[in-house]
Structure formats: C-alpha cells, structure tokens
Amino acid sequence: MERRAAMSERVSEGRLIKACREGDREAFRQLFESYNDRVWSIALHFTGDEAAARDITQQVFLKLFTSIGQFRHEASFTTWLYRLVVNSCLDEQRRRRRFVSFDFFRSGEREEDLSEEAHREINAMGRDGSHDWRHPEQRSAPEDRYSQLERSAKVKAAVRELKPKLRMAILLKYFEGLSYEEMAQVLGCSMGTIASRLNRGHQELARKLAHLDL
C-alpha cells in the first residue's frame, strides 16, 4: 500500500515536472507549494538570517524553473533540488564573508530571545490551523507544545553554531530525513564522510545542550 502511494506520488511529480518544462505556471506553483517550506527551513537554519533565507529560497526556485529542462531523471528530483539548495546556501555563505557587516540583519539568537521566538510560533499556530502539517506527535497540549517549541528553538540556535558542513548534514538529516546515501549524493561526498559529519554534529549538540531535559 505504502509502495503504491510512493509510486503514485512519483508519477504525479513526474507529471508536474513535465508541465513545468512546458512553462505551466500553475504547475510551478504546485511544485513550489510542495517544497517551499523544506527549502526555506534549510536556508533559514543554515544562515540564521531571514533575509538571506528569502534570497536563497527565491534563487533556488528561480534556478529550478529556469533549468528544469535539464533535469533528466538520472538522480531523483529531490536530490537535484537539495543540490540546488546546498549550492545556494554555500554561495550565500561566500557572499556573507564579503558582507559580514550585514550581520545585523540576523534574527536574534540569544538565549533570552528563544522563549519569545517559541511564543511567537505558538501564537502563529493558534491563529493558523494550516500549521498542523507538523507531525501528529508534535500536535499536543499547548503547554507541551510551548516547551517543545522552546526546546526546538534552543536546538536550532545550537545548530546554527555548528560548522557549516556539520550544520548542513544535520539539517538534511533531520528536516528532510535523507538517508546517508542520498546525503552523499546531494553533498558530493562519501557516505563515510556523511557518517563522520553527523557523528561530530551529534556530539557537539550533546555537549552544548546536555542540560536540556529530554
């Protein structure tokens, strides 16, 4: 049953890609709607900066739409998409080296701001039921949700402090659930390298946030 659903998903994705190649704007929109939250999440938590994440997300979809004719199904569509995301994030990182003084655009990452961030998120959830796309386990009583968001904000802040290569590995694993093989394809390295990056990422997170009650 699950296999059939996955196959049907691939077929409909294939149709969507075909329509995009033919310049169908509605197909573009659907493809965008399917992936924009994922692209945004990686970009936001890789850069820690909303303005930069907005730029990256737009660049990724513009590149996607302008080069979708070159997509030949040799890799999976998501692998191709995440390569675009990774390259755009790395480009942004290089640009940021030139414009470090733009760091004041960064969203606040201080410990004391985290509760506020969680508070904002939970308010947004209350106003907009569409946020219920989150995993069912994540839908719980407001106070639980609050502490979960607060923890998530702390983890996000710690992830932003990881070295870029470790950070990207963690984001691809935990936002996108990619396998080591898929991550190796996206990042252009061996599975051993992926294992090593995740190992270091996990250890750093554990050492930074050992005090969190999990």
Partner: protein, 397 residues
Amino acid sequence: MFSNHVNKNLSAYYHDELSPEDARRVTEHLLHCRRCRKEYEEIKLGVRLASQLLPDAAPAALWADLESKLDQAQVRSGGIVIESDWKRLLFSRLSFKIAACLILIMIGIGIFLAYSRRSSNTNTPKQGDDANGPGWAVRRIAGQPRIGERRVGETGKMAMGEWLTTDDSSRAQISVGEIGEVKVEPNSRIRIIKAHEDEHRLALARGKMLAFIWAPPGQFYVDTPSAVAVDLGCSYTLEVNDDGQGLLRVTLGWVAFESGGRESFVPADAECVTRPGLGPGTPYFSDASAEFQSSLARFDTARDGDAARADALDAVLARSRKRDALTLWHLFARTNETERGRIYDQLSKLIPPPKKVTRDGIIRGDRIMLDGWWDKLGLGNTDWWRMWKGPLPSQAK
C-alpha cells in the same frame, strides 16, 4: 574492522546505516567497551536533540515575490529565460572573456619572466627551495637594506619569518616566489609569513611597499596591523604608519582589503584606509575632492549614533559625484536603515537603480538588489568579483 574503538561509526550504527556484519561488530564492541558506550550515549543524546528540530513554514509572500520575477520571464522550450537577465548574462560572459584574457596575459608574463630569470642565472637555485629552506630572493636597489642582522649585498635571500628592514636611504626588491615582485621603500619592515605554491603571504609592519603580481587572483596576501590586502590581479602600493594605520592605493586591477569579515573592494585609481580596531574603511577614488575624502574619514571613524557621523554622511552625500558611486555603494554595508535610505536617494540621482531594485529592498539589505545596482556602476559586475574572489560556485547538475 572493529577490533579498535567504533566511535566513528556510532551515528551510522544508530541510524541503521551499517551493513549487518558491521552492525553486529559494533554491538559486540559496545558490550565490552565502556568508552565507546559512553560516546554512544552522547550520540544518542545528540540524535534526540536534533530530532527536536521542527521545520518552519515559509513566509506567505514568497510565492508573490517569485511570481513577479516569473512575470518578467520569457517561457522557452526547456525552461524559462529571464529577459532582463539577458543583458547581464551577455555582459557577464563578455567580462569573463576579458578577465580570462587578462589572466592568460598575466600568467604568460609570469612564465616568461620566470623562464628568462632561470636561463639568465642557471647557477641560482630555485626560489624558495634551496638548501637553506623556503625563502625568496631579495635584490638591493639602494642603500643598505638588512635581512635580520645581515646586510644585503647586491642580492640575498629572505627566509621564512625573517624581517627585511630598510632605513631612510635604502630600498630593496623581493621576488615573490615566481608570481610577482614587491619593492620595499625606505623605513620599512616586512617579512614572509607563508611561501606556498597557492598562498604567498607577507606581513608589512611599517613602511611602504609596491606590489606587482601576475599570478591568478587570490594567491598573494599582505597582512598589515589592521587589515589584509588580498591581491585580485593587480599592481598597488601599501603603506603602514607607526600607529598601524594603513593606506592602500591600487594602480591596476583590483585589491580586496579585509579584516574581521569587513571587506572593501578597491579598483584601479582608488584608495582605502584601514585603521586599528576599525578595519578597512570605505574605498574612494583618489581624485575625489579633499572635502569628500575628509568627510568620509570622519564618517568611518565616528561611532554609530554620533551626531558627527550624521554630519559626515551628509557631507559625503552632498559632495558625491557619479564616480563616487563606488563609495556610496560600499556605504550600504556600513550604515543603519535610516542612513541607507538617504544613501539610496543620493545614489539613485547619480546612477538610477535597475528596475527591479527598490528603496525598501536596499534598506533591508537585499543582496540581489545590491548586486544588481553594483552591475550598473560601470565597475564590472558581481559575477566578475566572485570569479576573482574564489572558485566559481559549483553548479547543481
């Protein structure tokens, strides 16, 4: 494989990414090894923490922004080509061709000079590779320059870490490996920090040097007390006074002046001051008026929020010419939102921004808009910069 510790495989073990055989060995090892068990507990905590990451919903306005860009697009078979980008693409390709030609010419000169130097003095060992260890050849131009305590005769060799010192009447020339030459003016103190095939680095503690580099960009650096000059294919002079303040003047090509992440891109005929504690100032063309230059210096050294800073910015804007767009554009990265609004207003009078560049976008620091406007300044485009600055970003296939 796992007779030793298994710590490197613990995340893969947790994620079930090991072969059954390897997983079995890790399990067995963990039973007997307290150290690896402890690390595994740490990995598991890391996994639990990372699992707390919740994805975020993208802003609703993203599609509208993207759609407006798509509206400017022309649908072609096999994809979309953004109409307004055609000129930029064309210009960019033209620039790349010119850049490639320039690089080839400079590399050709370098190879020619290296060969002619070798053939004219076959007894001289290869620079940086003789029996005394890495170092560069030094030639006396005038007076009695010294390397450490030794006087330089007609020629000498400067080893890694040794200081070359000139007094008020001496001058010398350093051969920077085989990629360029540096003339050291009187009252200077300079030494080699790194002599590697891909990175040639000097430190200028005080005095003045003239560099002429024919290597590809990004291979020659000069550390000063308050910034690093990165050669981007060029010729320039660099002075450092006793207070550690530096002045860079570019005569050919480009130089990036950087410190603590703050960068200034300085083209030919422009200058940039660097100050201890502040880093590179805002670059300006050497022919800018004295009032413009002094106002810019006041702005660069004033504290954020000072009235003097606002006055200095007023003066800079009031005295700016079209050519000073270089300075005004760099100011966007050094100012607050209110100030950026004022800079936008003045720069748009001098060089109107491209259609897609808005005041709000510039104020919030939209990088695409900033790059777009830079491309209109007549100083080459941002793709050109990126090519100079480092390897081209890898393209997704």
